[in-house]
Amino acid sequence: MSENSQRELSEEVVIQLKQMHKWYGEFHVLKDINLEVKKGERIVVCGPSGSGKSTMIRCINRLEEHQQGQIIVNGIELTSDVKNIEEVRREVGMCFQHFNLFPHLTILENLTLAPMWVRKIPKAEAEATAMHYLERVKIPDQANKYPGQLSGGQQQRVAIARSLCMKPKIMLFDEPTSALDPEMIAEVLDVMVTLAEEGMTMICVTHEMGFARKVADRVIFMDAGQVIEENNPHDFFEKPENERTKLFLSQILGH
């Protein structure tokens, strides 16, 4: 079942969160988060809404700012230093719940914009890379359309391709399937599974437990801003230890 949990992992740590805390004003959203992610590791983060799981992964590319503790990504510590933040963001791709494609640009332009303007790659080369990834997400024929003309599932696959065009070392997924119709979830998950199989380091916030069982090396359960339980998928689903985890699992798997 969870054959991947026994996978050999490299010892290289690419993401490190040490005693990280975050507040929104007076509200303590993230409490003492400690997390180490090794190169090639696939992590699924789940938990009830409002538990801080999205906030946590958004801290990793500093879309959210943490107030205490350390976050080190690819050996670079995230502080208010803008240069460091931009360097981290170049290497960390992110997919959002609502895709966030740029509606005024065609699909191809969405994919080539960052490589051309951030990595200074020539247009022809950026377009070749873009077409390569569009083929991988199986929609090369949509290259000249605008995002508004695509279905949700197609848009999310474009969003994944857009991140991949930057050749990131790490991919963050923030509930990539929760805004999709049931028919479209599978096509996005397929792309994510392929990506996982190719050895991409991934952190996914998702409620897709099937995906977690299939690809995760580790499942992290969060509630009220804390990491409650952390285990390999087999043990996580079969013998959860914490009462809160049991309740959550019974609610989402119970029907």
Binding site: N61, F96, F102, P103, W117, V118, P147, G148, S163
Partner: protein, 371 residues
């Protein structure tokens, strides 16, 4: 129970019922849909019948078109002779007659350079080059053409500039300068840096809080009291700066409205891809925000175009000013209506053109959904 006409799942696409499409349906839906609308339609027809023939008669059928003095006018209709005689002044003010070719030359250059911008077949590179020419080189050429003083052209003081020409100088300068300035102010007002933010807020609120007449009056009357004459720029330049700063404050608020309408996800997606502040603004946020507020931007442009008439109070005679001046000429007393109608037509042509252009621009830039 009705009989099943088609096999299940194979129902064809039928045409709509006859009376729901076509001219008759349109008439019924838009003009006579209920008793109140019918009443309004009849009332509107009545008003049109009562007013239009008289207006046409005054403006065309009984009007006098040819002649050289007021004696050529029968006064039964409009006296377009008045416009004819004063035409050059209405167009160019008191610009010396033998130098008017300089203005005409600039118009021709502008039109020749602008036309390719509206032809879809012209390549992007040529369009960019022409746009840069119009925005950078052309104003400099215009300055030397209009003011003169070098290249063997005699100096024409700005006090002689007037008519539609002056209206265009003020309006175009104001429009071209106020948009970029307004965008910077709008970005500044949303900045995280407290100093930048407060400077922009104070600037915007100050210029929005005072009437344009005050600005112009200050620029022309108060300014020279504080600044020694040698340092004080030309009256027209002071007016231009006043108009530009004034409308940039309005522009800033229009643009800010657009910036606020962009979903947070767009900023985040740009940031997550590693784009820095200026790149994400220029490539992602502003193209969408500006597109969204085209109606507001053009509204400000149109407002600015018409506000140029206020320069009359500082002794500059724009199109409307010249019309008024001509009507107060002792030989032509009593023809102010023709003057105003002509000025109104002039303004309408430009404002309506801007309005139509903005609508076609909106349609062209529409890429379906906005996120």
């Amino acid at each position: 129970m009705t009989e099943q006409k088609y096999p299940i799942g194979q129902y064809p696409n039928l045409p709509p019922p006859k009376n729901s499409v076509g001219v008759v349906a349109w008439l019924r839906d838009s003009l006579f849909s209920n008793w109140f609308n019918t009443l309004l339609t009849i009332l509107a027809i009545y008003i049109v019948i009562k007013t239009i023939p008289g207006l046409l008669d005054w403006a065309f059928f009984s009007a006098d078109w040819v002649g050289t003095s007021r004696d050529d006018c029968s006064r039964e209709g409009a006296c377009w002779v008045f416009i004819n005689v004063w035409f050059d002044q209405l167009m160019y003010g008191r610009f010396p007659e033998d130098q008017v070719w300089r203005i005409q030359a600039s118009y021709i250059i502008a039109i020749a350079a602008a036309i390719p911008l509206f032809i879809p077949a012209v390549s992007r590179k040529i369009k960019t080059a022409l746009a840069l020419f119009l925005l950078v080189l052309f104003p400099i050429i215009c300055f030397y053409l209009y003011y003169g003083g070098s290249f063997g052209l005699e100096v024409v003081e700005t006090t002689l500039w007037g008519g539609l020409f002056l209206t265009l100088v003020i309006a175009v300068t104001g429009i071209v300068m106020s948009l970029p300035l307004g965008i910077l102010l709008a970005l500044g007002r949303r900045s995280n840096m407290p100093v930048v933010k407060s400077v922009c807020i104070v600037f915007i609120e100050f210029w929005r809080g005072i009437p344009l007449i005050t600005v112009l009056f200050m620029a022309s009357v108060m300014f020279p009291l504080f600044v020694p004459e040698e340092l004080s720029p030309d009256k027209l330049i002071r007016a231009l700066i006043g108009v530009t700063l004034f409308s940039s404050a309005y522009m800033a608020e229009v643009v800010r409205g657009g910036l606020q309408a962009i979903p947070k996800g767009q900023y985040e997606a740009a940031a997550a891809l590693g784009l820095n502040y200026w790149k994400s603004m220029l490539l992602i946020i502003l193209p969408q925000a500006l597109k969204m507020v085209i109606p507001g931007i053009v509204n400000t442009f149109i407002g600015l175009f018409k506000d140029t008439t206020l320069v009359l109070i500082i002794g500059l005679f724009d199109l409307l000013g010249m019309a008024q001046l001509a009507a107060t000429n002792p030989n032509w007393l009593g023809f102010s209506i023709e003057g105003y109608v002509f000025a109104a037509l002039g303004f309408f042509v430009f404002c309506f053109t801007m309005s139509r252009y903005s609508q076609s621009l909106e349609r062209r830039l529409n890429t379906g959904h906005r996120n």
